[in-house]
Amino acid sequence: MTDRPLKVLIAKPGLDGHDRGAKVLARGLRDEGFEVVYTGLRQTPEMIVTAALQEDVDVVGLSILSGAHMTLVPKVCALLRDRGMTDVLITAGGIIPDDDVPALKESGVAAVFGPGTTIAQVADFLRANARPRD
């Protein structure tokens, strides 16, 4: 159905206790009409991918401010691929230096949202790029 809300997983990978941004985004996307599953803090890539699979989400959004994005983000991308979720849109946000963005995109991330990104920009990107489904 075309009026079905998009389902988004907002996840905090790794040992990073800063979830203000993730919560603001979860709330903001709710107000944009998305169904947002929030995982809570300190998730392993396996936990995130299990949640994405069980919830059958359209989008996985990874919020990471710890500096470990070059390790954790490609791992989540690879695990999603391993488990057949090649049609799930992956985005990242938080504190990610511009220099790292090409490598993250190479690993499967569709977009990196840094500080200053508005909720509306994220929402528009997800609506435009999330998979069509049956």
Partner: protein, 352 residues
């Protein structure tokens, strides 16, 4: 507004139908063989009420009916999600598979939702014996989503022996879960009200078990005692034409530490054993009735929405707004329209 699956089938060619049946069968085959991604996809189809879901349920429904569906309900913040997490741990210790349907409310304004129940249930990433699915209520009142029963049936058919259904945080009268579950657990927190709250009609009347959670807080045992005292006055005999009154045990748990949870599982198993006998027949009949009525109401609602765009609907609405026509007469006209199929069909989507 999208056309209902029923309407769509009228317009679909037989080729489409065959494709839908084939896709549904492929998903069912994979899900029944243990493919968790296929299971997740089926649940999405059920949630979105697609034609694939109806085809799949035709096949899966006869396989269901073996699991114990346990409804966990109660006010926001009483500890439902934490109690569900503690029950998962207890069931897994016994090697029993468990599925969870956790419902959170949708925004009545934007349709969006934050589904946060998983936060407390994350410790089972590598365990195929646990499957947790969050669902938004999507405008459905009563504490569940309209697809909750069907989702539970899918889990049941897929071999999950226990299905925990966590409602949205409920007030006093969201009792729908009792018609959905085999066993209804009402979770209360200490000091949530006095004896007058306990004798009010509603949620407590449908409980098979009452759990006072946060048992480490002062007042927990006093709250449990008050509830017990109130329940002692419940009549033993059913009045003619009414369901037998329930006599729930009152348990105290501290879900965060797991205290009292093994006793809760014992009580749940006892209720399950009782429900297998004649005790459960009336419950099962009531559940079938509730399910059929819910589907019927959904279908009628969709039909009603499909004629919403018809010019006559706008004319009727205008007439009622101007007090030229009363709302009852307008609703009757729309009902006639739906029954006669007189409205121009809504635009039907060719793809979904």
């Amino acid at each position: 507004m999208a056309a209902s699956p029923g309407d769509r089938r009228l317009h679909a060619s037989s080729g489409d139908e065959a494709a839908i049946a084939e896709r549904a069968n492929a998903l069912c085959d994979a899900a029944l063989a243990g493919d968790r991604r296929a299971l997740a996809r089926l649940l999405t189809a059920v949630e979105n009420r697609t034609p694939i879901a109806e085809a799949a349920l035709r096949r899966l429904y006869p396989l269901a009916g073996r699991a114990q569906l346990i409804g966990i309900t109660g006010p926001p913040g009483a500890g439902k999600s934490t109690l569900v997490a503690a029950l998962i741990a207890e069931l897994r210790r016994a090697g029993r598979p468990v599925a969870v349907v956790a419902v959170d409310p949708s925004s009545p304004i934007t349709g969006g939702a934050v589904l946060g129940d998983r936060v407390r249930m994350q410790a089972y990433a590598g365990d195929d014996g646990v499957f947790i699915r969050s669902m938004a209520s999507r405008g459905h009142a009563g504490g569940l989503s309209s697809a909750t029963s069907a989702a539970a049936a899918v889990f049941d058919a897929a071999g999950f022996d226990t299905v925990l259904i966590e409602t949205v945080g409920t007030g006093q009268s969201e009792v729908e879960v009792a018609a959905t579950a085999d066993t209804t657990v009402v979770v209360e927190a200490p000091e949530m009200g006095d004896e007058i709250q306990a004798i009010k009609a509603g949620l407590l009347e449908v409980a098979d078990l009452i759990v006072v959670n946060k048992g480490d807080r002062p007042g927990a045992h006093r709250t449990a005692g008050q509830l017990q005292a109130m329940l002692a006055d419940t009549p033993r005999e059913a009045r003619p034409g009414r369901p037998a009154p329930k006599h729930p045990d009152v348990l105290v748990t501290t879900a965060a530490t797991g205290e009292g949870v093994p006793e809760l599982l014992v009580a749940l198993d006892r209720h399950r054993a009782a429900a297998r006998g004649s005790d459960g027949t009336a419950t099962r009949a009531a559940r079938a009735e509730a399910q059929i009525w819910a589907v019927l109401a959904d279908r009628l609602h969709e039909r009603a929405r499909s004629i919403e765009a018809a010019p006559i609907a706008a004319a009727l609405l205008g007439a009622v707004a101007a007090h030229e026509l009363d709302p009852y007469a307008a609703a009757d006209r729309l009902l006639e329209l739906m029954a006669g199929g007189g409205a121009s069909p809504s635009p039907v989507e060719e793809s979904d």
